[in-house]
């Protein structure tokens, strides 16, 4: 029997590949920004197909939405088209891509089968969380329990990373709102 969702995954991956090739060949930055947004939206659909719903709608909101807007804003500050890139640099990029791809395929047999129950993530501490969350925290969603409580310190680190990103952008570019910013422009 043919697994329908697997066919769906392959179609999505083929579309991602096609968009990747199109982004390389295009010279118009506006089209490239839009295609990267489409790329993110397709990735989001793919994540949903892989049962990673929360990752899926984060990708849809951040990848397809926010980062497309930011790239457009950045494009408006620079040029509309990219410069011609010499053939020699294409060969170097191709060599790096082929080497990285070959390394990934070399590592592929070591990966557990998709959905397998005895992966390190499912068998070790992950299973422990699955068993204990219901009894200890009374929270049905184990992901929330792990992120919020068991691994709260990690999550705090993530929040501070997000905060640091915001502070970094604010230091470099200002927040575009204060009176001083208007005077600068």
């Amino acid at each position: 029997m043919v697994d329908f969702t697997q066919v769906f995954d392959y179609v999505l991956m083929a579309m991602l590949l096609a968009i990747g090739v199109a982004v390389i060949r295009l010279k118009n930055l506006f089209a490239i920004v839009m295609l990267t947004g489409v790329y993110s939206l397709l990735s989001a659909a793919w994540f949903v197909s892989l049962d990673a719903l929360d990752v899926g709608f984060t990708e849809a909101a951040v990848g397809a939405g926010v980062s497309t807007v930011l790239l457009l804003a950045a494009m408006l500050l620079t040029a509309r088209d990219c410069d011609h890139v010499g053939a020699a640099r294409h060969w170097a990029a191709l060599a790096v891509t082929v080497a990285a791809g070959a390394a990934l395929f070399y590592a592929l047999p070591d990966m557990p089968i998709y959905g397998s129950g005895d992966t390190p993530a499912n068998s070790g501490v992950g299973m422990d969380y699955m068993m204990r969350t219901g009894e200890e925290l009374f929270i049905p969603n184990v992901v929330t329990a792990v992120l919020g409580s068991y691994r709260g310190f990690d999550t705090m680190g993530e929040v501070f990373v997000v905060f640091a990103a915001g502070v970094g952008v604010a230091l470099l570019m200002g927040l575009g709102g204060g009176k001083r910013d208007e005077e600068d422009v």
Binding site: T58, L70, A73, L76, L137, I139, F153
Partner: protein, 147 residues
Amino acid sequence: MGAHLILRVVAKLLIPLIFIFGFYVHFHAKYAPGGAFQAGVILAAAVIVYGLIYGMDAARKAVPPWAARVGMALGAFIFAAVGFVSLIFGENFLDYDVLHPDVEHARGQYLGIILVEIGVLLTVTTVIIAIFYAFAGRSPEITEEEW
């Protein structure tokens, strides 16, 4: 973007729905996939859509830049503060059990997760809005010919 009537009407319909979906993702995370990180980006996306359609001045009126600035720090502060509260009560950092006397039913854990998730929501939403303001505040408006 003065002439884009359809965009304005559709945005007016969609933005409240995006906000409701964001809050749903946040407050339903006990049962459903999602959480404060996801909800934060959805809420910020709603503000960004508002800014794109109705202009930066309207967006700055709705969410002032000082609110984005304060929210960034306040969210991270709330998260760390919950950790220090449990530290002060003599438990491990971020051990929420001290927050509520009913340890049997893990009420403290429940309360702690809600508090830190509010912090995460605040920081993620305002950081993305602040980054949007930083970029969009510098870009010239897109002229009609370029569409």
